[in-house]
């Protein structure tokens, strides 16, 4: 970094890397913003939601039903929110310099993330509609699918953090990547809460 730090004026506050990461997250927000906009417009256009009236005879014959399960996604939501808490415990631990606790909390969070993904896959397998079954199916799978991909990305991110901390990296003074990882995970969590609210709760 020495080579690039010559003219640096602002030494305190957010580091350059962290600032860059937050900007990256801002672009992610805009990406999901576009998808949400599509969803809201589809709902605003619809005369009923879910748009059962848009189903073709062929789809009805195939047994398509535009409805989602509530219980399992609800439990998954609680687990994901919980995982935001557990990763934060990890961050607090490494801020104190406690790497062992960081490793433990990362493991817990990774497991929670994997459980969430498994629940999502299982949930997909139980649904009676596909991505092609009206804009309802399209928006549902697109939104939850892109979110799921981000969860998977977060799990990989945490896996890297875990490997690095097991290799003895990170300390109270230097653990920026862990902070970034937790930001990312909170972001994924917040997106899910928004998704869960509009897809499962708002009628």
């Amino acid at each position: 970094m020495a080579a690039h730090g010559i003219a640096t004026q602002h030494k305190q506050g957010l580091s350059n890397g962290m600032l860059g990461f937050i900007l990256f997250l801002a672009s992610e927000v805009m990406f999901f913003g576009g998808l949400f906009a599509a969803y809201f417009i589809a709902r605003a256009d619809a005369t009923e939601w879910p748009p059962e009236n848009m189903l073709t005879a062929e789809q009805i014959a195939r047994g398509v039903k535009l409805e989602v399960e509530f219980a399992l996604p609800f439990i998954a939501t609680i687990l994901l929110v919980l995982s935001s808490v557990t990763i934060q415990f990890g961050v607090l631990a490494i801020r104190r310099g406690d790497r062992t606790a960081l490793i433990r909390w990362l493991m817990v969070t990774i497991v929670l993330g994997l459980v969430f993904l498994t629940a999502q896959m299982y949930d997909y397998s139980q649904l009676h509609f596909r991505a092609g079954d009206t804009v309802y199916g399209t928006t549902f799978y697109t939104l939850t699918g892109f979110h799921g991909a981000h969860v998977a990305g977060g799990v990989i991110f945490m896996g890297v953090m875990l490997a690095r901390s097991m290799a003895g990296q990170f300390s109270a003074a230097s653990h920026e990547a862990v902070e970034a990882c937790s930001f990312y995970w909170h972001f994924v969590d917040v997106v899910w809460i928004a998704l869960f609210t509009v897809l499962y709760i708002v009628k």
């Binding site: 004026q9 900007l23 672009s27 999901f32 576009g34 998808l35 417009i41 697109t142």
Partner: protein, 539 residues
Amino acid sequence: MTSIVIPRPEGYARPRSALLDWLTTVDHKKLGILYLYSTMFFFGVGGILALLVRTQLAVADNSFVGNDAYNQIFTMHASAMLFLFIIPVWAGFGNYVVPLQIGAADMAFPRINALSFWLVPPAGILMFSGFLVDGGAAQAGWTAYSPLARGLGPGMDLWIIAVILLGVSSTIGAANFMVTMFRLRAPGMTMFRMPIFCWTMLVTSVLQLLATPVLASALAMLYIDRNFGGAFFDPNGGGNAILWQNIFWFYSHPAVYIMILPGMGIISEVLPVFSRKPLFGYKAFVFATMGIGGLGFSVWAHHMFTTGAVLKPWFGFMTFMIGVPTGVKMFNWLGTMWRGSISFEAPMLFALGFLSMFLIGGINGTFSAAVPVDFALHDTYFVVAHIHYVLFGGSVFAVFAGLYYWFPKIWGRRLNEKLGQAQFWLMFIGFNLAFFPMHLLGLDGMPRRIATYSNESGWEALNMASTVGAFLIATSMIPFIVAVIAAFMRPKDQPNDPWNANTLEWWTTSPPPVHNFDDLPEVHSERPLFDARQSGAGH
């Protein structure tokens, strides 16, 4: 005048093969040069496609390329020019110039910078490989409206993936530019002492960061519609075809500023230097740039008046509003030249070309912002005239202004002045011959994106004039290429500051060393080199 001495970083000069060095470089200057080479290459490719378009349209009832090929050619022409030339060419100038102008040793994230660049050539190859697949390249226009774009062959998918890759490139590039300018400025360089080109790159970056991901989301939806039976844009499944237009223009109107703001920045560097005066109204210019950036998000539906599905008075009004900061800039530029001692070297000529052509482009854009007028002009050649007056007359002239201006810094040699003048006049005349008639054709009702027209339409003479103009533009590239080759055959002989310029890139050698600066002057204003000359310092 004191100066700050910079310790040399150690171990940066590992000897490597030149090729490997170019392929693995993370130096912002080399990446900037790579950007410039590859974008100029796509400018050439896009230009050849444009000549094909103009050849096809030269005479009535022509069958030179055929309808299907015509659609592919005009689509790929626009896509190459916008996504592979104009947008990344600014990243090229920005890469080379921004760190030097703010006195930094590199961008904030050099490796991410390399990633941004290396996404561009593969995306270009991907997009053009559409010509090899069944059904040919994308042919839904650069705007890829549904339902058209939902139903075409696999070339369309290649196009979608390519544009997503380019979007990723410019999004992460934007974050990189922002952090660089927020964090790596030389001591004493406050935000309001940053060179104008940097400011325009900063606002451009904000637009890219926030708008490009929205385009990516739309492209993802289009891909899902095409490949997974999705119904986003399909009314039969409860979707909405106008949705695409809304999301596309939510990106693409800000994107037109992504395509022009850095050009305005270049002009604002060139005009003061060749008028021997400071930029008139620096702060007003900065605020106008921010204003354009902000308002840019509120006018997208002026592209959609004729759909009837948008709030016309609001979007018409906001579009008029956005003319205001643009007008402010006109005054900045004219005020800068007012009573200056102007000299007409090539960079200045191109800058003046920009001013006059962009003025016309802005005026005919404002015409179309009036809803009733737009109903008559929408989807006619008038709009084609408009976009070329702003994008060619504006942005492309600015590209050449920047090339002539920074060539001595980047390559240590100067482009031949006579050839530069020749290029300018050929291009200027060719440009107006090619594009002015399009206004008249549009007023006469000639629709855009048609492969041919009947000879009863009476459009032949103007179309022929336009085609002649296009070939004149192509001819104007000859003096440019000759000038570049001639320059490369000569030794590097340029002093640090051949133009008596104002900004920090001219403080260091031409070309600069790997680490950019051995020392820096103290920055007390937005014109540190002018200050240094006044106090008798400098090299």
